[in-house]
């Protein structure tokens, strides 16, 4: 019982679209998929002609598809963008070194320049070394904070105007759910924004052209286009709590496939009470990166690593920022609390 494509009504459909329930054949799917990303780029005014755009490339399915589609659209619609690939080497043996090989192949396949920045050269620490010191429990905090800044630093070296990342609809919806579960109203309000305007000195505007694209369609697009991507889970285990939100989202999708975009709609339309305290963005007094505290998260984490007190950046120790800035030693009691023993 082959199902006909609902668009060309001629060929056999190869997938059922989760967002709308339509069935499409391979060619109509490619066309609709690319066209939708184009509409997103145009309607949200993500880019301007002549800009240099860095694509955050991890070698995974999302960023590989993003790089491919942006290249296609840049030519088809003559965006006039200068595209390049931007990768971060976290220094995870057996994971990132393999996925970077994929990125290097992509560089040749798509003929896009590639820049790799490593944690080691930026911070003097690889993730392997960090895990050795902090253990497996909070390492994702280090990695996440460092990656965000590493991408910015790499982008600045290349004089990039904008960074785009492969976050897809599932990622955005998951983040909405996460922020509800964590009661984080400030992030709940921000997390559905498709782009962050330049938030201050040290940060480059970021956007998510795949914000409305389902993970299912990204995987199928990559599969049918035979794109070369890397699919292995990070060896330093993902976060358990986020895992709960992801499982819940996937279950929601299986009950009602539109649920993912429905969650995004919810996130986009909810409004926050006035008078709810929102953090004020400033800049880090050590490195100049955006921060709502005297020191940015990255500098605090780094200070913790260098002083052998990894807990410094985990949890709230804002009152210690003054001491760190003044390079004063901490008291014994403070030190004891920040050592890794009870991780």
């Amino acid at each position: 019982m082959p199902v006909q494509c609902s668009s060309c009504t001629k060929k056999r459909a190869v997938l059922k679209r989760p967002k709308t329930g339509h069935s499409l054949c391979k060619d109509c799917f490619f066309w609709a998929f690319e066209e939708e990303v184009h509409q997103t780029i145009v309607s949200a005014r993500l880019f301007n002609r002549g800009e240099t755009v860095g694509i955050g490339a991890s070698g995974g399915k999302d960023s590989t598809v993003l790089a491919h589609v942006l290249k296609v659209l840049n030519e088809r619609y003559d965006y006039g963008l200068k595209l390049l690939l931007l990768s971060v080497d976290e220094g995870i043996t057996g994971y990132r070194d393999d996925s970077l090989e994929t990125v290097k192949r992509n560089q040749q396949q798509y003929e896009l320049p590639l820049k790799i920045v490593s944690y080691e050269e930026l911070y003097g620490w690889t993730m392997d070394a960090i895990v050795k010191q902090v253990g497996l429990k909070n390492n994702c905090t280090f990695c996440g904070v460092f990656r965000r800044q590493a991408l910015d630093r790499g982008a600045m070296m290349l004089k990039v105007d904008k960074i785009c990342t492969g976050h897809n609809a599932d990622d955005v919806a998951e983040t909405v759910l996460m922020n509800v579960l964590r009661g984080d109203i400030a992030r709940l309000r921000r997390c559905t924004a498709i782009s962050t305007a330049s938030e201050g000195e040290g940060a480059i505007p970021r956007c998510k052209p795949l914000k409305y694209t389902y993970e299912k369609e990204i995987v199928l697009y990559a599969y049918f286009k035979k794109l070369d991507y890397f699919s292995t889970e990070c060896i330093y285990s993902p976060n358990a709590y986020r895992g709960h939100a992801r499982t819940f989202l996937k279950d929601l999708e299986s009950v009602r496939p539109s649920a993912i975009v429905d969650v995004i709609h919810s996130g986009e339309t909810l409004s926050v009470k006035e008078g709810v305290k929102m953090p004020v963005q400033g800049t880090c007094s050590r490195c100049g990166y955006i921060s709502s505290q005297a020191l940015c998260k990255s500098c605090v984490l780094l200070e913790g690593l260098n002083r052998g007190l990894p807990r410094l950046g985990i949890g709230k120790h804002h009152r210690l920022h003054g001491k760190i800035l003044a390079q004063q030693p901490l008291t014994q009691q403070e030190e004891r609390k920040l050592k890794a023993i009870d991780f």
Binding site: M1, L15, K16, G60, H167, K216, S231, T232, K250, D251
Partner: protein, 101 residues
């Protein structure tokens, strides 16, 4: 009595890790009284092929949400999902969407 059928199973997107890292499998389902369907295939995979943590692949009688299934290169949602009756030489692909970005 239905004759034994040969299938090509492919696991990708990380799902292969649950099968000793092997992506392609050629299997033959034994003959049985009724024709084989996807529901029975999943039970058979669980019983005969899954090396570890079956809950990461099957849940209830279906696949875990987030694993895409293609039957002869088409979305199984178009083919009747669990009810699909397998034919000899069918090509069944399981792609995990769950890791890596």
């Amino acid at each position: 009595m239905a004759a034994p059928i040969a299938l090509h199973l492919e696991f990708g997107g990380g799902a292969e890790l649950l099968f000793d890292g092997v992506k392609n499998h050629h299997v033959t389902l034994p003959s049985q009284s009724e024709p084989w369907d996807m529901r029975q295939l999943l039970a058979w995979i669980r019983g005969n092929m899954l090396k570890e943590r079956p809950e990461l692949f099957v849940q209830g009688e279906s696949v875990r949400p987030g694993i895409l299934v293609l039957i002869n290169d088409a979305d199984w949602e178009l083919m009747g999902e669990l009810e699909y009756q397998l034919q000899d030489q069918d090509n069944i692909i399981f792609i995990s969407t769950l890791h890596g970005g």
